[in-house]
């Protein structure tokens, strides 16, 4: 059984009359990637900042490595052992990549060799480049490097890919996957469904300060994702009518594509067998449910690219 590195119980955080985090409880275990998935304003960053000891909580309890985030002496120990990539990470513009990482590293009594971290993040060729001249993706990599310079056991990555183009986003994913291989526990926050599904061992969906569901992506999909869908491209009305009569739950869109929801593998084979019997020679696709379907089911909306709930 892996050790708990984070333990949160009935955590509440209020700003005046606004409840940003509303009675949430969860744990994060060593070596796992734990994702907080939710739209802007859901309470993700607030929760993370409470755990990073830079924001006081209103009620409940939170501990990191067993140290209480509300106790001054404990926070010193926590800060030594965590690495943080804050939302919208920035550094001193006129300092180079190495100088900025050295700056953060210099704050710790024990730290890794800066060049070792730079190699790990694959930014060796930019080591003397000023921070202001880096692309968005490279800046995030420098941020991750700065988060690792103290060789932390737990790394907080708050919206690490927000605002990055798809290529840069995948580069950051690759970095996170490498961190996992190093055995670090990672607390990731994101509003990108795919990101959470690809990277996380467990996901907590948070909305309006409350955790709606929590579990591994597979379990969440299986419990809340709904049925698989068989898609027959340009199938047309006639085939749709036949499939509707035999299997029910069939729909046709404006492009004449047919969508048949299937409960299990057996029903899928039966559908395919029927299509074979009908000598249908159409393009067939199997669509499996994703975390987006889970989110739609449990929250009742989708998240836009900008992180807004619709």
């Amino acid at each position: 059984m892996a050790e708990k590195v984070v333990e949160v119980s009935s955590l509440v955080k209020q700003y005046g009359s606004l409840t940003a985090v509303d009675d949430i409880s969860f744990e994060v275990y060593e070596g796992e990637v734990f994702a907080f998935l939710g739209p802007n304003g859901a309470g993700k960053t607030t929760t993370v900042e409470v755990l990073e000891c830079i924001r006081p909580l209103t009620s409940g309890s939170a501990s990191v490595f067993g140290y209480d985030v509300t106790k001054r002496e404990d926070t010193k120990e926590i800060k030594k052992r965590i690495g943080v990539l804050p939302q919208d990470f920035s550094a001193l513009d006129k300092l180079s990549v190495k100088e900025n990482i050295d700056l953060i590293g210099g704050m710790y009594d024990k730290k890794l060799d800066t060049m070792e971290v730079i190699k790990l993040l694959d930014v060796e060729d930019k080591v003397n480049e000023r921070f202001e001249n880096l692309s968005g993706g490279l800046k995030q990599r420098v941020g991750v490097a700065a988060a690792l310079v103290n060789d932390p056991e737990l790394v907080f990555l708050d919206e690490p890919t927000t605002g990055l183009d798809p290529k840069a986003r995948r580069e950051v994913w690759s970095v996170i996957q490498n961190l996992k291989k190093l055995g670090k526990a990672i607390f990731l926050t994101s509003h990108y469904m795919e990101e959470a599904q690809v990277l996380a061992d467990r996901i907590a969906i948070i909305n309006k300060g409350k955790i709606t569901v929590i579990g591994s992506p597979q379990r969440l999909i299986s419990e809340y994702g709904g049925l698989k869908v068989l898609i027959i491209r340009k199938g047309g009305k006639k085939i749709a009518k036949t499939l509707q009569e035999r299997f029910g739950d069939t729909t046709l869109n404006n492009n004449e594509d047919i969508f048949v929801k299937v409960d299990d593998v057996k029903e899928m084979w039966q559908t395919l067998s029927t299509l074979t019997d009908m000598n249908i020679d159409k393009e067939i696709e199997i669509q499996t449910p994703t975390i987006e379907d889970v989110f739609l089911k449990v929250v009742g909306g989708r998240i836009t690219e900008e992180g807004e709930l619709t």
């Binding site: 900042e49 800060k79 943080v84 919208d88 001193l92 006129k94 210099g106």
Partner: protein
């Protein structure tokens, strides 16, 4: 301490590589010193243009009117232009002569009969003095005189009175025409009157009873630029603190740099000290550059000593403290910059950094007394120029006290934890 030094190095390096930061912190004060130095740095006195119309002519100007003009010229205060005697519209003539950028019009008219009236007037005064003296003596010694002596003296007095009465009672007159807007009109009038008085005394044979001797307050004669140089240093140490620290700290805060550092074991006090040390280094560099430029170009007197360096450190603390206080109270970078400017610029001009507080009206002097820069600039001037111990000690104590107050307030409002 290790973390403070790392912050100090990083913030300083970041600033040294910023062209705009370098320009406004170092180059701009140097440029301002060069401009003011060029205007006020000259050792020679200013000269004023003066147009003179001499109406006291008899074919050529009379001897005494010429001597008077020469006396004015010998002061080396005026650039004299002569207006022909037949010109009647003096203002138009002067405007034509001076041209569109010629500055203020100053005209002196020596009236017709200047020499005659001067001679007659002098004679009348001298006869009057003699008559007066004789009368006094006569009244005092009359009792010891016989009748013959008395009669002779009374006859002499009567003749002198008749002669004095026969002398015309006209005075040699001078007329000056000055612009109302001319700020130097007082100086010009004073100089002309001084020359006229000197003429009066010389002609009546009066000797100076009161003598006037000028001695410099400092070992070497100070010039305006000597006063100005510590003012530039103190004013820009103030702006580097109030505007620089406010803008930088608010920008670091906006970009999450302070938040990122607060998640490490770095403490708030270590962060503040690192920044204050960086400001102190910047201000020592500014002082060194300004003094070197002052020495090389304007031959200024400023000699920094241990008190100057102590004051610069205390000033850096004081104004960084005000900067931290502002950046702690204001979230928005633009607003922080605007408030910083709104505080720094009036303080720069009301504190006596650029001109003596004594030049200002009473209500402004009262304002100057509550401005920290007043004590800082006065202390720095006392330490660098006047070498005036009381001024150094008093102002250093005030600056130190204010530095403690503002650095404590600044630290209290600097948030190391979110709300």
């Amino acid at each position: 301490m290790k973390r403070t030094i790392i912050i100090f190095k990083a913030v300083t390096k970041n600033w040294l590589r910023s062209r705009s930061g370098l320009f406004f912190s170092i180059m701009f004060p140097v440029l301002l010193l060069l401009v003011f130095g060029a205007v006020f740095g000259s050792q020679g006195a200013s000269t004023y243009s003066l147009l003179i119309q001499n109406l006291d002519i008899d074919g050529t100007p009379t001897e005494l009117s010429e001597v008077f003009v020469e006396a004015l010229n010998s002061t080396e205060t005026f650039t004299i232009t002569t207006i022909p005697a037949d010109i009647t519209d003096l203002r138009s003539y002067a405007r034509d002569v001076l041209g569109p950028l010629g500055g203020n019009i100053r005209i002196l008219v020596i009236s017709e009969g200047f020499q005659d009236n001067l001679i007659n007037g002098t004679l009348k005064v001298r006869v009057g003095i003699t008559l007066n003296t004789t009368l006094t003596m006569y009244q005092y010694y009359a009792l010891s005189m016989n009748e013959t002596q008395k009669e002779a003296i009374e006859q002499g007095i009567e003749q002198m009175e008749q002669y004095n009465a026969s002398l015309p009672d006209k005075k040699a007159s001078l007329a000056v025409i000055l612009d109302d807007s001319d700020q130097s009109s007082g100086i010009v009038k004073s100089i002309i009157m001084s020359i006229a008085n000197a003429f009066n005394y010389e002609l009546i044979g009066a000797k100076n009873v009161v003598t006037f001797q000028e001695e410099p307050f400092t070992e070497r004669q100070l010039r305006t630029i000597d006063f100005y140089l510590p003012g530039v240093i103190s004013a820009f140490i103030m702006t580097n603190g109030i505007i620089g620290v406010t803008t930088n700290t608010t920008e670091f805060k906006r970009r999450g740099i302070i938040k990122r550092l607060s998640i490490t074991p770095l403490g708030k006090i270590e962060w503040i000290l690192g920044n204050v040390f960086s400001q102190t280094l910047l201000n020592l560099m500014l002082t060194a550059i300004i003094i070197v430029v002052g020495w090389l170009i304007f031959d200024v007197q400023a000699i920094p000593d241990v008190f100057s360096i102590l004051l610069i450190f205390l000033g850096s603390l004081l104004f960084s403290g005000i900067g931290m206080l502002l950046s702690g109270l204001i979230k928005d970078v633009e607003a922080a910059s605007a408030v910083g400017n709104a505080i720094a610029f009036p303080m720069m001009f009301l504190s006596g950094a650029y001109w003596p507080v004594e030049f200002m009206p009473d209500y402004m002097r009262t304002i100057a007394k509550i401005l920290p820069l007043t004590y800082f600039s006065e202390g720095l001037r006392s330490a660098m120029i006047y070498k005036y111990p009381e001024g150094i000690i008093t102002n250093t104590i005030i600056v130190a006290a204010l530095a403690v107050i503002f650095i404590v307030l600044g630290s209290l409002v600097t948030r190391w934890k979110e709300k």
